[in-house]
């Protein structure tokens, strides 16, 4: 392993090692102070930023397309290998840089924002785990490894949604998001399996595996399912407002910057395959367009700042999907970078937005004059009202999902419970309560 490879390994592993050490020490009884935690976080991400800058500098100076680190096989069984390959190329480097930079910034912001919060240690541990998962997903040289990072991002995302664990709504919303993530991740698992089966490998360090047209289409659609779930695209958009229950810094980095764009990154990775599959490309474009329209309509009827921002993010990610489907790879990357940066800033400013408005109103000596000009005014009045109702229920997406998937599944489970209670003579009513709390209207954000 050359020095550049070692540097990449350091960038990816640093937050993971910090998480592992701190978590183990905490389990054994040590509780770090806020100052120690924030300093460790600052040093870790600062060092990572410099290390990543070195990689970018060296690659730019030498003109090399990428730096690859082969760490052997994680495990190998006859013909099946799980390669540990890290790779930083022109696609992954922007995402790696974004992750390291924003994680460091969020760490510094949160040291003040969450000062004396009961979950301070938990938040920072999860921030490190999230950064590790993201870096692993973006620096993975194979889809196998990408799955590992991808799932870590999902788990930390859910744990941070349920961060304010004393209240029921965040916890239940976290459960709902977790269920959606797991359901969509089946697509990723099956897609990777299909690549191994048909292409012989799931590594993309030396190009995507070669497959026939139908096989490529199948893989693309499976991965599209995973990408749509992670990026909250239609029909999975219902989880996004629920995710706003988490603390603002985590909302900023997850749903304004990194996690929400992970789906787009996955599609960018398989873009050479997408280009040769018009059906899959058309589906990506269609999903993107529908999501963008859905996001902008629902966002207009959202009553709180974070949810509005979340739907604004959704709209932009929908547009990014369209760009990827069309084949504008680098426009999509530039769009993601710009969007992630601006949206993170907006999320971080959201709690003090009212204060900002008051200051501006004081400065101009009164309130802003409403223009009264809105795009929806172009529609006829009945359609406006219908759209308003539709937007208030967030496109009925959760209701549809409940009726098509959740309720039948719960009904089946209760039927099984009745069958299982045969011969015991006990009341079935103890099993009657539907376990997954699937409220139609998610709790509002604002923490």
């Amino acid at each position: 392993m050359d020095s550049l490879g070692a540097t990449l390994l350091f960038v990816v592993m640093a937050p993971g090692v910090v998480f592992a050490v701190l978590a183990l020490l905490w389990l054994l009884g040590w509780v770090p102070s806020e100052r120690v935690l924030s300093r460790i976080t600052g040093v870790t991400f600062s060092a990572s930023i410099f290390a990543l800058a070195r990689i970018i500098w060296k690659l730019g100076a030498t003109g090399a397309p990428s730096v690859t680190v082969m760490l052997g096989n994680w495990f190998a069984v006859r013909d099946y290998h799980f390669p540990l390959v890290l790779m930083a190329d022109r696609l992954s480097l922007p995402f790696l840089g974004l992750t390291v930079l924003l994680s460091g910034l969020i760490g510094q912001f949160s040291a003040t924002y969450l000062h004396r919060d009961r979950g301070f240690v938990r938040f920072f541990l999860l921030l490190h785990l999230f950064a590790f998962g993201s870096l692993l997903a973006f620096a993975a040289g194979s889809f196998d490894l990408l799955v590992g990072g991808w799932e870590m991002v999902g788990i930390t995302s859910v744990l941070l949604i349920a961060f304010f664990q004393q209240r029921t709504a965040p916890v239940e919303n976290g459960l709902r998001v977790f269920a959606v993530y797991r359901a969509c991740d089946i697509g990723l698992l099956l897609g990777v399996f299909a690549m191994h089966r048909w292409g012989g490998t799931a590594s993309f360090a030396s190009g995507l595996p070669q497959m026939t047209g139908t096989q490529s289409l199948t893989v693309c659609l499976l991965l599209l399912l995973a990408a749509a779930g992670k990026a909250a695209q239609i029909p999975f958009s219902g989880w996004l407002p629920r995710a706003m229950e988490g603390p603002t810094p985590s909302s900023a980095i997850f749903y304004g910057a990194i996690s929400i764009h992970a789906g787009a990154y996955l599609l960018l990775r398989i873009q050479p395959m997408l280009i040769h599959s018009p059906t899959a490309s058309a589906m990506v474009i269609a999903i993107g367009i529908i999501t963008a329209i859905h996001g902008t309509i629902v966002g207009r009827a959202s009553a709180d700042a974070k949810t509005s921002l979340a739907y604004a993010s959704l709209t932009q990610v929908g547009v990014v999907f369209v760009e990827i489907g069309i084949g504008w790879k680098w426009i999509a990357v530039a769009h993601i970078l710009g969007h992630a940066t601006v949206r993170t800033l907006q999320f971080l400013r959201a709690p003090s937005m009212l204060h900002d408005y008051h200051k501006m109103h004081s400065a101009i000596g009164g309130e802003f004059s409403p223009t009264g000009k809105h795009l929806e005014d172009l529609f006829p009045k009945p359609l406006q009202l219908w759209l308003y109702r539709w937007a208030l229920d967030r496109g009925h997406l959760d209701t549809i999902l409940d009726r098509i998937v959740i309720h039948p599944l719960m009904g089946l489970s209760k039927l099984f419970a009745r069958l299982d209670s045969w011969g015991l003579g006990q009341s079935v009513s103890r099993h009657e309560e539907v376990a997954l709390s699937m409220q139609s209207s998610p709790g509002r954000g604002g923490n």
């Binding site: 389990l27 495990f75 069984v77 799980f82 239940e172 797991r182 089946i186 489970s413 419970a417």
Partner: protein
Amino acid sequence: MPVPGALSVVPISVPWLAAILVVGIGRQPRAIGFVAASVSVLASSFLLHAAPVKTSLGEALMVLFSCLTVVAMLVLPRRDCNPVTIAGMLFLLGSTLLAYSTENLLVLLVAWILTTVPFFLEQLFRADTWRPRLSLLLSSAALGLAIGIIAVNGHGMSIDRLIGQNPGGIAVFGLLVAAVIFRKGICPAHAWVADAAEGGPAIPTALLLNGHFGALLVAKLIVPLFPHATRDLFPVLSYLALATALYVAIRALTENSPRRLLAFLALSQSACILAGLESQTVEGMTGAFAHWFVVTVSTMGLFGILRLLEVRFGENLTASQHLGLAEHAPRLAVFFFVFGLALVGLPGTLSFCSQDLLIHGTLATHPLTGLLLPIAIAMNAVSVFRLFTRLFLGKRRTGFTVMADALPRERWILTAGVLFVVLGGLFPNAIVALRPVEVEASTQGVDSQTDTSHRPPTAPSPIPKLRQSRRSSAQP
């Protein structure tokens, strides 16, 4: 390195003698149990180390189960730690190790029955419903009948000599499969597992379930003895296992009793082991053996933590509402979360690797029914997370007189468990490599039988071949 014959007896006899001692003197049961189980760990480890080729399923499982019993001894709350319980657990340890180590059918039957005896006795671990007793009885009867038919047909009792002989034909094969179904809790005989977990003592029941005798019977008897029937009829059991994994996963979604819910999760994940073993692919079988380790450690950790919670916060814990116990026991919450997600494929734990292999192996053999496996695992993950959120998150509860988090004794042993699943995940080859030679040989055997129809029907299976060669190489 030759192994002294006496040493082979130590891991089995010491727990049995200690069980008698505990009941006899009636004092210091935890200390005696811990020492006896530790001796079993050491002796089993020596046996594993002394094996010429480190590919021994039996010795590896002996080490695993001995370690599990040590964990159980330390996690067992003081309230449950009486001489009778400890003696029962030691008896279970000795009987289980006897089943793992034997190469004789009659001894296997005796060990099989002995492991069930404590669950029939009211003074020990008997559940308050009849289904566990019936299932255990039926499984023992099925195995006894199968072995009886083999004996009547004039075959010997040595497993080695029966390899590939198809002893007793389809009747014995069917009886052995029935024994697996009843013991393992495969649908439709699955309900007893939840009954036993809810109505019996949590930790001893977890020990019983983690013996995985159903999977043991598949690996030790069915595959080696019936290579052709395995090829032709095994898919049926595979489908049943996959159906069980999904059925129980769906069933768990609305279960509100934490013990039953954990039992369903353990059962669903255990069914994945069978599905992997029956996939007849090297990935699936290796994944199954790795998953065996994961399920064993994780479910023991989960049942142990649940029992600790019951002792602290009352036995009426429910998943129908948020109990907010993380405020009182944050470390137990973290342990529970890690063990729970380690059971269902958390990245960075051993189950991530084992399930990766399982899914690949099962899908390769059964492209359609294999799809049930990732779906079942995803549902199990949701159930684990739901149980975690219901038990530990939510508004802080008040009114408890005892609100201790994990005690140092519990903390250290649970940390060891977490380290096992995490380090196993970081360095999975240590576990995966335990079986490759035998697994590859067995799958090659199946492949070659599939490819070459002229192979004689009595051709021995590769697994015992390896055992024989190991044994012969062990002799000077």
